[in-house]
């Protein structure tokens, strides 16, 4: 299994850089991954990350529609917070697996 060091901690990741053990995640690690993706995390980012982690830990599938209805962020802001590929990028920073949904 591959490992990557963020904020001085060695993290187990898969070949695409996603956490294989979400329990290893911390806010500092998130900031380090975000930096690698060219993002500076704000309070709003952390709220979204927390929402994504809660959903994932609850065994729910992440979809763009679910995020729009989350009450945490609407889709427009979500795209602005994590520009490019928002769901892929945010889940990577949140330390959870890459979403498998097509919607």
């Amino acid at each position: 299994m591959a490992q990557k060091t963020y904020a001085g901690v060695a993290i187990d990741v898969n070949e695409e850089g996603y956490f294989t053990n979400p329990a290893q995640w911390t806010k500092e690690i998130a900031a380090a991954i975000a930096k690698e993706e060219g993002l500076e995390l704000t309070e709003k980012h952390y709220q979204v990350l927390e929402y994504l982690r809660n959903r994932h830990n609850g065994g729910e599938q992440l979809t763009i529609r679910g995020i729009n209805k989350s009450g945490v962020v609407d889709v427009k802001d979500f795209y602005q917070l994590f520009p490019g590929a928002p769901l892929k990028k945010s889940t990577k920073i949140a330390g959870i697996p890459k979403p498998t949904s097509c919607v």
Binding site: E16, Q61, T63, I64, R65, G66, N68, D74, V75, K76, Y79, P83, G84, A85, P86, L87, K88, S101, C102, V103
Partner: protein, 166 residues
């Protein structure tokens, strides 16, 4: 994510049919593109225009006649004659929508909002709109314009761009 040297940068998707499955195929492809950071245009023409008409977009049906892949619950082919019974098409369409909702696939109007919020663009075909006597005010406010095929090709250009006819 891949080491592809020529990634897809822009897709322009044409939807010419107004059944649930044709419209959703276009919307899933388009929304999937913006979610990947790919620029996306959706161009609706002929019966596909139903998908962007305010009053019709959430009432699309799926064709039950002349569709050999249509199955009854349990897997048996649906006899064509069954499809002509009044109400069968509506029932099948309602079932399709229910199954999609379970997978968190939104209704057309909401899907369009998500697509546009992600930076996608919607266009209607001028020729088809003229033919069906459809005016701008009949269309969703998210539709950027009623454009000609020439304008469509102008918008579809650029490096790494692709045109998809669903």
């Amino acid at each position: 994510m891949s080491d592809n040297k020529n990634p897809v940068k822009k897709v322009s998707i044409i939807c010419a049919k107004g059944t649930i499955e044709d419209v959703y195929a276009a919307l899933v492809m388009g929304n999937g593109a913006v979610m990947e950071g790919i620029e996306a245009n959706l161009f609706f023409t002929f019966f596909g225009l139903e998908a962007i008409m305010k009053k019709r977009m959430d009432n699309l049906h799926t064709g039950v006649v002349g569709n050999p892949a249509m199955r009854l619950p349990g897997g048996m082919r649906m006899p064509t004659l069954l499809g002509v019974i009044p109400g069968v098409e509506a029932m099948v369409s309602a079932m399709m929508k229910k199954e999609m909702d379970k997978l968190d696939v939104p209704p057309v109007s909401e899907f369009i909002e998500l697509f546009v919020a992600g930076g996608g663009s919607l266009y209607a075909c001028k020729l088809a709109a003229d033919m069906f006597k459809i005016r701008k005010e009949d269309l969703s406010e998210h539709v950027k314009g009623i454009i000609t095929v020439g304008e469509f090709y102008e918008k579809a250009g650029g490096e790494g761009s692709h045109i998809i006819f669903t």
